[in-house]
Amino acid sequence: MASASAEAKTTFEDFDQAKRMQGEITKNYFQRLLTAQANGQKVGYGFVMANPIEFFNVFDIVPLYPEVTSLNISYRGGAPPLIALSEEVGYSTDACGYVKMGVAAATDKTSTAIGVLPKPDLLYLTYSGCQIYIHWWEQLHYQTGAPILTVDVPYVREYDGHVDAHDIRYVAAQLEESIPVLEKFTGKRFDENRFKEVMRLSSKAWELWGKVLEMGKMRPSPLDAYFESIYYMAPITLIRGTQECVDFYAFLLEELKERASHGVGPTAREDYRLVFEGVPNYPFFKKFWNLFRQNNARGVVSTYPKVAGMIDTGSFHLNTDHPFESIAEYMIHAYCNWNMPLRTQLLEKYVRDYHADGVVIHSIKSCRSFSMGEGDMREYLAKEKDIPTLLIESDHVDPRYYSEAQIKNRVDAFFETLALRRAA
């Protein structure tokens, strides 16, 4: 019977059901978030990078990631009023769009494209890779009075498969110290059995997500590991540590295997295989994707999904025998917490391992932690390694920085050079 249903699949949409599932997961998550406080649950604000959501799960705290709410609002065209509100109170046009939207959304009764967001009961400051995180949470603390719980994560200065043991111990100790704080905050005892189960489910989801990303190595790739991963990466951040999260990645992996066996993918053909670096443009996401899709180009690997955890580098494995240390390692290995030479080497390795034709860097002006140094990356890859590399600029959330004609010009010219190289 299974084969009969597989044969019934004829269009790409038939092989594109995981996105539908992700849409449902995100919708349900927002529903849970918007009703959390009315249901007597606490809302903890966290960051995408280095969030130990496993603890939130155990203590039944509902996470709110302003980065995720902002990108969703922006994707729905709702960024301008929030950005305008933040600029009215004095934020510069150059300040991070996520910060500006996050601060505006936490202002009294501010309605957003996804509803009125709950204010934080707790601000969980996992300081990893982005310096603005500290000031952002301070601002929210001034605005709402919510307490800040800080876990300081050291930057990855050197990495040869291992980071210094004292770096791991430093983070693990802070996580251990945070347990009594969270117990006091929620009035609940830390349930070790529940924690082990959450860790087991988290670990399983990571493993499956890693396998999904590896599918990009296939030729042709059954997925666009940049533009489609924008959707696929949501559950690992929003609902990690649940069976639903594991089920999602298991389903996705099967769907991609089916795509591969039926020879279908996100573009009609795979003419170009690209490595993507940088945060996408959310207000014009589909238009931006089309610039590449219409050239039959697929992102076969990208750095952006690795902000949620660098699962494809083998840098961490959640381990119930060493829960605090293994979570600490996951937190240390957030993409923007790697230094610039390491990030550049990773891009170069991606080009090799994924047999890519070139690298596209989408630089977003207001994010220093992601975008700083991308000019040097381009220069190194293009000049030292002779890898075709395109650098384009806009913003992740602010539509004012997206200029279609100018970006299209650069993208078209890039494909012309790729075509020339191929002909040669």
Partner: protein, 273 residues
């Protein structure tokens, strides 16, 4: 008629000017034309095409293939295909100066640095940020506030004896700075040369991103400006290729692409017999 369908046209619909070029089946430039783009790209490109045919005494039936380039390339409805002006400037510069390895194209709203191989193909390119600083618009704005014609600023700047430094990187603020410098008593010529020198510095920054390898060919509308040529050559310490045709490089390159595409289409068409 022997001449039938043996000419190839390139139309470069830029942000400020639309240019056209016609080449014969050996790649010789037969004619060029230019006019302001104005508000309607479709009208402007049709007008230039008509002008090009008039000037060369040709009819549409003499033209085998048309390639559109420039920002308005997708609006050139009578064209057979489109190629970006980045590839076209490289191709055009290579035709005019076959030893070109680096192209600097300064247009109305864009400045591009392009590294090309021995066949005039793009190896790498870098463009100005989404900002008019360092583009032709920078000079236009300054000319306007000084009450000068665009064509005279370059020539005037050559008379500078003690150039001032224009430090603003913003084209709008630079206009204010220009007036301020005049108010401080600096001569018009010195201020004008300062503007050109400031643009040259930005352009060279772009060139360094792709790597500067001689010969450098200077293209685009600004390549007609002697002040800009001097400022660039002074700062680079080397000569640039430029002449009356380099402003048409985008259109010339497009015409060469038209010739190449038409002949490869003929070969693919199976005339193997």
């Amino acid at each position: 008629m022997q001449a039938s369908r043996s000419y190839y046209a390139g139309i470069d619909a830029g942000s400020t000017y639309t240019k056209g070029a016609l080449v014969d089946d050996r790649g010789n430039i037969v004619g060029t034309a230019v006019d302001m783009t104005g508000v309607n790209i479709v009208t402007a490109s049709k007008k230039i095409y008509g002008l090009l045919l008039d000037k060369t005494g040709m009819n549409e039936s003499d033209v085998a293939y048309v390639v559109g380039t420039g920002y308005g390339r997708y609006r050139i409805t009578f064209g057979n295909t489109q190629v970006t002006e980045i590839s076209c400037h490289a191709k055009g510069a290579h035709l005019l100066y076959p030893n070109t390895h680096t192209v600097l194209d300064m247009g109305g709203q864009d400045t591009k640095a392009i590294r090309v191989n021995a066949h005039g193909e793009v190896m790498d390119f870098s463009m100005n940020d989404k900002c008019a600083a360092g583009t032709g618009r920078f000079i236009e704005g300054s000319a306007r506030v000084l009450g000068l014609k665009l064509q005279e600023v370059g020539e005037l700047s050559l008379r500078s004896t003690n150039p001032v430094k224009i430090s603003s990187t913003c084209a709008v603020f630079a206009e204010t700075e220009t007036q301020e410098q005049l108010a401080w008593g600096h001569s018009l010529e010195d201020v004008l040369y300062g503007i050109h020198a400031s643009m040259a510095t930005r352009a060279i920054g772009l060139l360094r991103r792709v790597g500067i390898e001689p010969e450098i060919t200077f293209t685009g509308g600004v390549s007609m400006n002697p002040g800009m040529i001097r400022a660039l050559e002074e700062q680079l310490g080397q000569r640039l290729n430029h002449d009356g045709k380099t402003m048409y490089c985008g259109a010339i390159g497009a015409a060469i692409f038209a010739l190449e595409r038409a002949s490869s289409a003929t070969h693919e068409g199976g005339s193997a017999a």
